[in-house]
């Protein structure tokens, strides 16, 4: 699913990671550390002799003696420089591996011993860190590439712009501590940007559990996108989730549609309410709702004939269905492979009959993923399911985190 986009995003991630490595700078930051008396070799102790004034080292501020964070090192170094410098003002003096022990020949009092311990309790050392400050120019080329990748993948222009803006905001001009790998920084940025446009998703079982039964779900959409099969798949999914379901064979127009849903329902063990072909779909759906109420069922799934939003008579029929059924949810069904066309159609459908959620079918055949990424943001309604194959189980409840993890090749957050 969306293999083309995944491959292209991996390329962009890699290039953006390269930009980060090129622009990450080492800076020196004063950090207070409290090492044990037997300080580990990695944190170099001060180099004063044992008889030096005890307050000397702690009282000297690193800001006075050494360059602070405001004076970054121009040269770029590797992380191996961590903790390399031991004392303010004496960066290059070699440090002993261990703090010097008190001379046995010159015993010290307990007070003096405590003061010596104090030398080591609060060491201000300069820690070399890598900090990331990217400028607009650093990322322009890669962001242009990301923009083209998204547009080529049929991600709608406003959504593409939103993603690019998010990535730019997240990376450009910000001081970021560079403790993680560049891949993590890029992945996190892209993940946040994609999650922002994908919205919150929709938990259908949760909705049903918190709603008065039966929950009435109407499926609408254009011709040939797989509505009837989707109704069967959603029925199978809800059955697996423990809900009782009845299907209304509301597509009384298309030859074979009633028979098709009948066979699906029989195979799934779901009751189907049907009239003759050419009958009034509102009547079929009304009967199905009555049946569900009489039998205490959880969900009514109403199939309808495919129609284009500009066919006024068919849209009027849908208006009647809505008045009769009073659906709790209207799901618009379209195919992912239609790309941006699916987004435009969903928008038009939402304007004319309304939609509460989207189901995209044939996502397994879509290498681009543009519709799946754009649709929720464009029409402001959540993507609920993705159809991913021919079987009844080939219906994925859509979760933004899952999709982003899949696109970026990471574990789900």
């Amino acid at each position: 699913m969306f293999e083309g986009l995944k491959g292209k995003l991996a390329g962009v991630k890699s290039r953006l990671g390269g930009v980060i490595i090129e622009n990450a700078e080492e800076i020196e930051t004063p950090v207070e550390v409290t090492p044990p008396i037997e300080a580990p070799a990695a944190v170099s102790p001060p180099t004063e002799p044992a008889d030096a004034a005890p307050d000397e080292a702690p009282s000297s501020s690193p800001a006075d003696a050494a360059p602070g964070p405001s004076v970054p090192e121009p040269e770029k170094r590797t992380l191996s420089g961590f903790f390399r410098r031991s004392k303010a003002g004496q960066p290059d003096e070699p440090a002993p591996a261990e703090p010097p022990a008190p001379e046995p020949a010159l015993p010290v009092t307990d007070v003096e011993g405590a003061q010596k311990t104090g030398i080591f309790t609060k060491l201000k050392v300069l820690v070399t860190e890598r900090e990331l400050i990217l400028k607009e120019d650093d990322v322009r080329e890669v962001l242009d590439e990301l923009e083209i990748v998204l547009l080529e993948s049929d991600v709608a222009l406003p959504v593409t712009e939103e993603i690019i803006d998010h990535v730019r905001r997240d990376l450009v001009g910000r001081h970021r501590k560079f403790r993680e790998s560049p891949d993590e920084i890029v992945t996190e940025t892209l993940r946040d940007a994609l999650l922002e446009v994908l919205g919150a998703g929709f938990d259908l079982p949760g909705y049903i559990r918190g709603h008065e039964r039966p929950v009435r779900i109407l499926f609408t959409g254009v011709n040939g996108t797989g509505k009837t099969t989707t109704v069967a798949k959603v029925g199978a999914y809800l059955k697996r989730e423990g809900f009782s379901v009845v299907i209304a064979a509301g597509d009384t127009f298309r030859a074979g549609a009633i028979e098709q849903i009948d066979i699906h329902a029989e195979r799934l063990g779901i009751r189907v309410i049907q009239h003759k072909q050419g009958g009034d779909p509102s009547a079929v759906i009304y009967d199905a709702v009555e049946y569900a109420q009489a039998h205490g069922l959880d969900v009514v799934l109403a199939d309808t004939a495919g129609r284009f939003h500009n066919k006024q008579n068919l849209m009027n029929q849908l208006g009647k269905i809505r008045r009769v059924m009073k659906p709790d949810l209207v799901f618009y069904v379209d195919e992912a492979i239609a790309g941006n066309d699916a987004v435009i159609r969903a928008e038009e459908f939402d304007k004319t009959v309304g939609a509460d959620g989207i189901v995209l079918t044939k996502a397994d055949m879509d290498p681009k993923g543009g519709a799946a990424i754009s649709i929720a943001h464009t029409i402001g309604k959540p993507l609920v399911f993705l159809g991913t194959g021919q079987g009844y189980d080939d219906l994925q409840p859509f979760t933004p985190a899952g999709m982003v993890a899949d696109l970026l090749g990471t574990a789900e957050a």
Binding site: V155, L157, G256, M365
Partner: protein
């Protein structure tokens, strides 16, 4: 017994119809992909020819076999629809490279659709074979053999 056989025939016939519809749909998709690939190939070829042309003169087909000799003002600047209804201006070579990439993508998509088509065709053949078995058994007055596999 008769009812059971009738029911099986009905269900198998329905499957066969379903598979037929799916194959029809996939076949249309394959045709669309092939048309798109051919269109991209033609565009890439035209851009190549245009780049090689000294004065940017090409034949412009206007339909019904009629063509005009036209001179392209900016043969190196191509307005290219890259997706999501967005058109960008690209240099000839870049546009050609984009079209070639698109052709490769479409070939990969075509391959996937063809694989699915083959799978469904196999299933449809299985169903047709079983239906044939039942028809022959009924004609010979025998009980149809139990389905295999």
């Amino acid at each position: 017994m008769v009812n059971k056989v009738e029911r099986e025939v009905q269900v198998l016939q329905h499957y066969l119809n379903e598979y037929g519809q799916q194959m029809e749909m996939l076949s249309q998709q394959l045709q669309m992909i092939e048309n798109g690939r051919a269109e991209a190939a033609a565009a890439a070829e035209t851009l190549t020819t245009l780049a090689a042309s000294e004065d940017g003169t090409v034949l412009l087909p206007v339909g019904a076999g009629a063509s005009l000799r036209v001179k392209v003002l900016e043969p190196d600047q191509v307005l290219l629809s890259i997706g999501a209804n967005v058109v960008v201006e690209r240099q000839n070579a870049e546009a050609k490279s984009f079209l070639e990439d698109r052709m490769l993508e479409m070939e990969a998509s075509g391959k996937r659709v063809a694989e699915t088509f083959g799978k469904i065709q196999g299933q449809a053949n299985e169903v047709a074979r079983r239906l044939d078995q039942i028809y022959r058994a009924v004609q010979q007055g025998q009980a149809p053999p139990a389905p295999t596999g």
